[in-house]
């Protein structure tokens, strides 16, 4: 009986052309050649910068010069999940950059560098990933930050909702800038940088297939430039907050509680675009409780309010900035709205997600 020929190991190749797949497969998270492919063809070309291009296990940043004159380091992180991944006015990519950039900016920091961790679901179209990554790169450029380190993991189909992105970032708070609830004083002005509820209503309108008279676009935007302009006009800003999930109602309640003071806002002053107002009206939602991704609330000394408003209105992300109300010594921890009719009511902290009403 003849011996079978020995296997030709040298010529062996896996017959599956994994590297050309149009979709994410488990192997893209394996750390091998497929992972390298993603890095070299998707992430590095989009985000490329001298620090990232080192491809070290960590990014090494030289910040001594930035901190030399009394600046302090700000550090923040933000995880992002959203459906759909791309929506009117933005995508999860812009949200991931602007979310962390804005968290840094709310401490008065100039954002410097971000990390980005991607959790990819098996089956995600690589073209879709590439599109989101390039939007993310453009957002980073607009915000003036570099993405200097990152990671990818792949989870099995059905366990990942397409794509989630977690970013972390550092920035430098200039010497003398001291923002926080302890600075807030009775009499301070409460300012909002523009119309409310655009992001939440944009997501809801696409997710639920609701067509309003005009498309509602997310307001996702980086706010560090606006904050720098505000600090230039008034270095003694008391506190900044970006009213994302839970909306302005949540942020104002948090500020009132942390400062141990009351807040009064004027109903007619609440800026809401007509199409968003109609959408909220139809669904029975309160625009004060709906998410924003490119707006900020500022607590400002009363006699500086006009100067800050002027600086904000001169900036592209603050054109519709307006005075919303004031901080008061009465009713500590509670936000009260003066209604257009001359009555008043408490603006509560929202409980959970907002629910469309029956009728």
């Amino acid at each position: 009986m003849a011996e079978p020929p020995p296997p030709d190991v040298a010529g062996f190749a896996c017959p599956a052309p994994l590297r050309d797949r149009p979709q994410i497969v488990m192997g893209h998270g394996g750390g091998g050649a497929l992972s390298q492919d993603l890095l070299e063809h998707i992430f590095l070309p989009a985000f490329g910068n001298p620090v990232l291009d080192q491809r070290g296990d960590s990014a090494v940043l030289d910040v001594a010069g930035l901190l030399a004159d009394g600046g302090r380091l700000a550090f923040s992180t933000d995880a992002h999940v959203v459906q759909p991944l791309i929506f009117p006015g933005g995508s999860i990519g812009e949200l991931a950059v602007n979310g962390t950039v804005n968290d840094l900016a709310m401490s008065g920091a100039r954002p410097l560098s971000l990390s980005a961790a991607f959790i990819l679901e098996e089956g995600l179209a690589i073209a879709e990933l590439a599109g989101i990554v390039s939007r993310m790169a453009a957002a980073a450029e607009r915000a003036g930050v570099s993405i200097v380190t990152g990671d990818t993991k792949v989870v099995e189909r059905g366990r990942g909702d397409g794509l989630s992105i977690t970013t972390a970032g550092i920035g430098v708070v200039p010497a003398g800038v001291e923002l926080g609830p302890r600075q807030v004083q009775p009499g301070d002005a409460v300012i909002v940088s523009g119309t409310l509820a655009d992001h939440g209503m944009a997501i809801m309108s696409v997710r639920e297939g609701l067509a309003f008279e005009a498309a509602i676009e997310s307001d996702t935007a980086p706010l560090a430039g606006l904050v720098a302009a505000m600090l230039a006009a008034c270095p003694w800003l008391r506190l900044l907050r970006d009213p994302t999930r839970g909306g302005v109602a949540t942020s104002l309640n948090e500020i009132a509680a942390a400062a141990g003071l009351g807040i009064e806002i004027e109903e007619p002053a609440i800026p809401v675009s007509p199409v968003v107002a109609s959408g909220c009206e139809i669904l029975g939602l309160d625009p004060l409780q709906v998410a924003n991704e490119g707006k900020l609330l500022a607590i400002v000394p009363a006699d500086e309010a006009q100067a800050v408003l002027a600086a904000m209105r001169a900036h592209e992300h603050g054109r519709q900035a307006t005075l919303l109300g004031r901080v008061v010594a009465e009713h500590p921890g509670i936000v009260v709205m003066r209604t257009a009719l001359g009555g008043s009511r408490v603006v509560p902290m929202p409980i959970g997600e907002q629910l469309p009403r029956i009728c």
Partner: protein
Amino acid sequence: MKHLAEYRDADTARRLAAEIGRLATRPWAIMEVCGGQTHSIIRNGIDQILPPEIEMIHGPGCPVCVTPLETIDKALAIARRPETILCSFGDMLRVPGSREDLFAVKAAGGDVRVVYSPLDAVTLARSRPDREVVFLAIGFETTAPANAMAVQLAAREGLANFSMLVSHVLVPPAIRAIMMSPGNRVNAFLAAGHVCSVMGTWQYPPLAEEFGVPIVVTGFEPLDLLEGIRRTVAQLERGRHELENAYPRVVSERGNEAAQAVIAEVFAPVDRAWRGIGVIPASGWRLADAYAGFDAERRFDLTGITAEESPLCQSGEVLKGAIKPSQCPAFGKECTPRTPLGATMVSSEGACAAYYNAGRT
């Protein structure tokens, strides 16, 4: 929104409030029937600009609040079944059943979906023939036409996997029950404008006559409400008790007859239990016999469900107007929107939630 701004003008509102103050010479208790009206009153602070003579009593017109606990428990039982998709309007999800709410069932793996129209549930049933799609059909006369149309559509398409858990309630029998209850303090009613847009106003003159009570069909915007209140006070001061329509831009005497015809075909009157109040004769609709095949209560075995109300909850007294939400001993203590004991603290139209959220204590 430009259209709505007309009905929110602050100067006109103050003029109307002043006019009500001139008319009112003695205390009057006026009940707004509809939960949407309650919320508008509290949100806009309308009760705060009314003269002290006028007391607004908040009525039982929030469908979420008056849906019996037993119906919620049945919906929860249906949602727990692996073969079902339960579709509901959003604000039902947080209403507590005897032990849990629909959010909890969803978190435990139940397929619970928020829809904006019952027709969305029919569409879902069409695309998911492998699943039983159940729509939780609650509401007053306002939501009944769309719910009835959904059943007609499912029948026409022969969708065997679509059904409804029906708990419809009606306004006129509730007004009768309130007027006949022993501790009644209500002197006049603002009838629910949107209910009347469907049903017309013809059901109300006999009630006004029988109980000697003014009934004014009223809308939901601040000026609508103030005009409705002004007209009831004018009637009360002159000793009259008539039906008036203060919402003519939406409501006609005959109502939407096409909608009434659809309702009459699909639904039939039934004695209905109102949460916190009890059974009111002929105060609801069930599916008519011809559509019994779409009745979720027949399709699923729901026997053995017994509902247990919290002994602390006084939502029934609130719904009848006997007490204000803040007069309930549990208000703001054991019972808050986070830990609601009764539906009136849950629904965005519930009187207790309206009071709590506006900081009325």
